[in-house]
Symmetry: C2
Subunit: 238 residues, 2 copies
DNA sequence: ACACAGCAACTTGGCAACAAGTTACGATAG
DNA sequence: CTATCGTAACTTGTTGCCAAGTTGCTGTGT
């Protein structure tokens, strides 16, 4: 029989789902598991390293391996036109956000075409990290043309909520033309920002935001979520 | 500086995105890369093994490592009430589907509660695999109560399209109460069915299907997509 | 000139021995 | 009795060496 490693991963994952293994619990040592599954130690070790990369367990040299403490899984409405902050607050989460950058974006065909911007347009990126229970759970980038909001350079660094900023400019209802969703793995930088391991999948949601009244394109948005922190609600309703 | 391994992964991934590395191309050997990045061979090796697990490269002992051939990425509308088959055909893909199982489902609190079924109800699972260009891209499970369609046991094994089956029963318009989306890794069985490596993330879409006219619950659906084959369109429109 | 065997130099794959860190416990000294 | 130190037995982490597979060149015989 091939692929003992994957069988071990399946077995341990099942035990975690069935609650046979509890959060915080210590796993048997590599040697004990190797005896149990009748495989070389290295096979068990590789399986455990993968589980660690996925963020399910952690190890302490000389002590052993432990299941991570269970962390929240948030049911997040991906659709709908209310702001992220409002969604979170209406669900009663300990939620906060932190601005991480406000920079001029060098010309980039993908972003510029999304914004329907010409090469001579000036585009800024507003980046922030969203936290639930003090844990980072998403990176949120807003790309805005200077033409659309001429005072953006001055306002930018102090914007806490783009929605609030738009309301201040008399825009109250938003819609979007297209929302795309894909799955990636974190770069080294994203791992640092989101405090996650290299094999935690990220969900990337890209959309445009349009003033419902005037149909003017406001921004191009890219949100990068830790996929292990959410069950996404994509119900279409109302 | 820590985490050389991740820096190597980032670098190779960037080169792939920038098309500096072409599909099918042979990568430098572990030793050459170790020299280039000034790290021990084992570090390069671990980075390459992760890229292999993610499905980006493959290796041949004695020969070397190669970039996988580029495969299609389909833009898939996740929302909307047309059937999967219709979506695919309207987009002109070489699409087909294969029934893989029709079985009685032993009592399971999660599935039964989704179906609003009591413990004495009989529930069947219809499983099929969906292919694009002969490549498996999704596993589709439909859970149906016998009460809803009394002849399901007889019909089941020959059902090619659930939507067609419902239409035969006079149901023409469908809707759903809630659609949830999450990300997981494949079990060993799912790896075999979807012909993918252990670290290819899967997108799981769970929904109920309701007859729009009578509001009767028809089925509970669970679709498991290979996340590397799609960009999902979750635009809410019309 | 050509065919072929054999060898050398490369590739990736696997593993065993060793290193490093933690804990538990018992001997020993005060 | 108590405190402390040392050691042995465990844990996970690292690495260097050799096995296995492929390629290509070179020498040899025809």
């Amino acid at each position: 029989m091939e692929n003992k490693e994957m069988q071990i991963i399946d077995d341990i994952m099942n035990r975690m789902i069935q609650k046979e293994l509890q959060p915080g619990e210590k796993l048997p040592s590599e040697n004990k598991l190797a005896d149990k599954y009748r495989v070389p130690r290295i096979t068990v070790r590789n399986a455990l390293l993968k589980l660690e990369d996925r963020g399910h367990i952690y190890s302490v040299q000389g002590k052993g391996r432990y299941l991570k403490e269970e962390s929240i899984q948030v049911q997040l409405p991906l659709t709908g036109s209310t702001s992220f902050t409002e969604k979170m607050e209406s669900m009663g989460y300990d939620y906060c956000t932190k601005n991480i950058d406000f920079t001029l974006v060098p010309y980039n065909s993908k972003i510029y075409s999304h914004l329907q911007a010409s090469e001579s347009d000036i585009v800024y990126r507003i980046g922030r990290i969203r936290y639930i229970n003090k844990e980072p759970i998403a990176i949120h980038y807003s790309y805005v043309k200077e033409v659309t909001f001429p005072t953006i350079q001055k306002d930018g660094p102090n914007i806490n909520s783009m929605f609030a900023y738009y309301r201040k400019h008399g825009i109250n209802e938003f819609t979007s033309k297209q929302t795309l969703l894909s799955v990636t793995f974190p770069t080294l930088e994203e791992q640092k920002l989101l405090a996650c391991k290299s094999m935690v999948p990220l969900m990337v949601v890209e959309t445009d935001s349009v003033d419902k009244e005037t149909d003017i394109l406001l921004e191009y948005t890219k949100i990068i979520y830790r996929s292990d922190r959410f069950k996404y609600d994509i119900t279409i309703n109302d």
